[in-house]
């Protein structure tokens, strides 16, 4: 197992290298540059030339890339932001990432705590009204995107009922351990609507997947064997069926984890949350090259690590899966 993990981590390096290279080159061949401003804001050519010289943008791309890799590997430095003067990509990430992690992990917790039980109940009571009801709610849940869910919740609970604030996030740096917020009332009041917006879709897809997978597992021969040898129904379901049926659920949790932890643009945008999601989108439009590459690299690191965790979980869930 240890050897497998080491081999996988070594495999990360070419993948991450390729992603950084592709993003690095791609943003640079895109038409337009980081200092093109239209109209009144446009900069004199001499200023642009100075800025480009400062950031070595006149050099050949391979040279820029070598410089970037050197800073990244040796100094863990993702470079300066071209748009937010005086701020580095490291600073932007360390400010915004904790907030996205808070939002994402709460939403994922909500998704699991509703989705798993709902999916299990639906599967165990297959073809009963309970099953039809929860399956219908789940399919409705996956059909409502956050760009619809967010405004609905905001309109009802923030604008009409005035229960929760309309926007912003209720916690600020410095965070405990770097990412844990102080759980004040203000924090929860701000958190509820975005967490529910993000969490409903997650819980619905988790519920659907759990139901489908558990239904398949329940028909396996070893479940019949477990029942035949007189195990309690609870033990059959929890120890034998549930554990084995979790493989497809864990499979989607990997990419989901990476996606929600590094920020979801729409939810953050709708509720005005200063998370990392915004930077993914705006940096591309701004041609803020280091922010584009830095955030993409960060997301990819989350993604490959999450997928590794998924594969390790497989071996625990199903001992027949071996990696030697």
């Amino acid at each position: 197992m240890t050897r497998y993990i080491i081999r996988r981590i070594l495999w990360f390096l070419p993948v991450l290298f390729a992603i950084v290279l592709a993003t690095f080159v791609f943003v640079r061949i895109m038409p337009g540059g980081p200092f093109d401003f239209a109209g009144d804001k446009s900069l004199p050519p001499s200023v642009v030339a100075n800025l480009e010289a400062k950031y070595h943008l006149g050099e050949p791309t391979w040279k820029q890339f070598a410089r970037y890799l050197y800073d990244l590997v040796v100094k863990q430095d993702l470079g300066p932001s071209y748009r937010y003067r005086g701020r580095t990509v490291n600073e932007i990430i360390s400010d915004a990432l904790p907030i996205s992690v808070q939002l994402g992990s709460l939403a994922l917790l909500l998704g699991l705590s509703i989705g798993l039980p709902a999916g299990i109940i639906a599967a165990l009571k297959q073809n009963t009204p309970l099953d039809y009801g929860s399956t219908f709610v789940a399919i409705l849940g996956v059909s409502i995107p956050s760009i619809v869910m967010g405004p609905i919740l905001m309109w009802i609970f923030a604008l009409k009922l005035n229960w929760f604030p309309v926007a912003r996030w209720g916690a600020q740096a410095p965070f405990f351990l770097g990412f844990l917020p102080v759980p004040t009332l203000t924090f929860w009041k701000h958190a509820i609507l975005p967490v529910v917006t993000l969490g409903t879709g997650l819980s619905a897809s988790i519920a659907r997947l759990t139901r489908a997978s558990l239904l398949q597992t329940i028909r396996e021969d070893y479940i019949r064997t477990a029942r035949a040898k007189g195990l309690a129904e609870r033990v059959v379901i929890v120890r034998h069926a549930l554990k084995n049926s979790m493989i497809p659920v864990v499979t989607i949790l990997g990419p989901l984890l990476a996606a929600v932890l590094t920020g979801t643009f729409t939810t953050e945008q709708i509720f005005g949350i200063p998370g990392l999601g915004k930077h993914f989108v705006t940096s591309v439009g701004n041609r803020d090259y280091p922010v584009v590459v830095g955030t993409t690299l960060l997301y990819s690191v989350f993604l490959v690590i999450a997928n590794l965790l998924v594969d390790i979980t497989y071996a625990w869930l199903d001992p027949r899966i071996r990696y030697d």
């Binding site: 991450l16 993003t23 895109m30 409502i144 905001m154 993604l303």
Partner: protein, 325 residues
């Protein structure tokens, strides 16, 4: 017994025989199963309905999608504007009707591209086996690490800049022209298919691997069928079913991605309407004009819901393991 009588009796016997052995193909079984599933049938009917709406948009929409009337900006729903009017006084119902075109275009274009690429790669990989299989599957593993949404955003920004700048090369110029006709989304729809074939390739490969050892393939090879004939005549029909089902289930994702791109301002060019862009405009005016968002939001949710019901029904019908007793 006359010869005519004999012929008639033989004919009757043949018909009875044919009737008795009326085939029950797996496909026929699946279709019967599908038609019993009321939610899936309703989903299918709604999908057909939306396709008709998109095709006949110019006939059924009460106004043009770009018809501006400044006197009516932010008009509330009334008999004149059934779903209200937006910030330029454009009829929201008409824009919602025209908006179905973009959502269906992405559903069709992205899924077709992804299906074709996935089928080709997966079938070649599974059929050839050995080194080619290994190489292609390593490529798939490698690409799995790539962040899909970020590359969609990067590509769309690139395409937008490209279409503004135009191109001297003849056929690229023509393509850009077609793209602009479609509200500037054609390239990104194709790109979404190009980025999303990995799952499809894995399914197609798995199917080919399980079928290529079957007797009917061996029999075909024995009577002298070449690789091309085996792939197209014998393997493709069997592989296609699960792939189409899986692609139907991917359609809501494509529709959401288009809505997301439009929402963040990287979608259709104004004044082409898309549900994502209308929701984006609507949520900004939520406090004062909540009606702006209603029609596009309902249209988006119902369409995705219909595709989900249809896809679920297809999957249940084609995968007997999920059927209840």
């Amino acid at each position: 017994m006359s010869a005519v009588e004999k012929a008639a009796r033989r004919e009757k016997a043949r018909i009875a025989f044919e009737g008795a052995r009326k085939e029950r193909t797996p496909f026929g079984d699946a279709m019967r199963q599908l038609l019993k599933n009321r939610a899936a049938v309703a989903g299918g009917i709604f999908v057909i309905f939306i396709v008709l709406v998109a095709l006949l948009a110019s006939v059924i929409a009460p106004y043009g999608f770009a018809e501006v009337s400044f006197a009516d900006n932010y008009a509330a729903p009334s008999s004149k504007y059934l779903a209200g009017a937006d910030y330029l006084g454009r009829d929201i119902l008409s824009r919602t009707i025209y908006g179905s075109r973009v959502s269906l275009a992405v559903a069709f274009v992205a899924s077709t591209v992804s299906l074709v690429i996935g089928l080709v790669v997966g079938m070649v990989s599974g059929y050839a086996g050995g080194r080619i299989d290994n190489l292609l599957m390593r490529l798939v593993d490698f690409l799995y690490g790539f962040p899909f949404l970020i590359f969609v955003i990067l590509l769309q920004v690139y395409f937008k800049a490209l279409s503004r700048r135009g191109s001297g090369i003849f056929f690229v110029g023509t393509l850009i022209e077609i793209n602009n006709q479609m509200g500037g989304m054609l390239f990104i729809f194709i790109a979404m298919g190009f980025l999303n074939w990995l799952q499809m390739a894995r399914i197609a490969r798995g199917q080919v691997l399980s079928y290529k050892q079957k007797e009917f393939v061996e029999a075909a090879r024995m009577v002298g069928a070449g690789d091309t004939r085996i792939i197209f005549r014998h393997l493709l029909p069997n592989v296609l079913g699960p792939c189409i089902v899986s692609e139907t289930l991917a359609i809501p994702g494509y529709i959401f991605t288009e809505a997301f791109l439009s929402f963040i301002g990287l979608g259709v060019d104004a004044p082409t309407p898309s549900w994502g862009i209308m929701i984006s405009e609507g949520y900004k005016g939520l406090r004062s004009y909540p009606h702006l968002i209603v029609a596009p939001a309902i249209a988006l949710v119902l369409t995705v819901l219909a595709f989900n019901f249809l896809g679920d029904g297809l999957r249940d019908a084609f995968d007997p393991r999920l059927r209840g007793e």
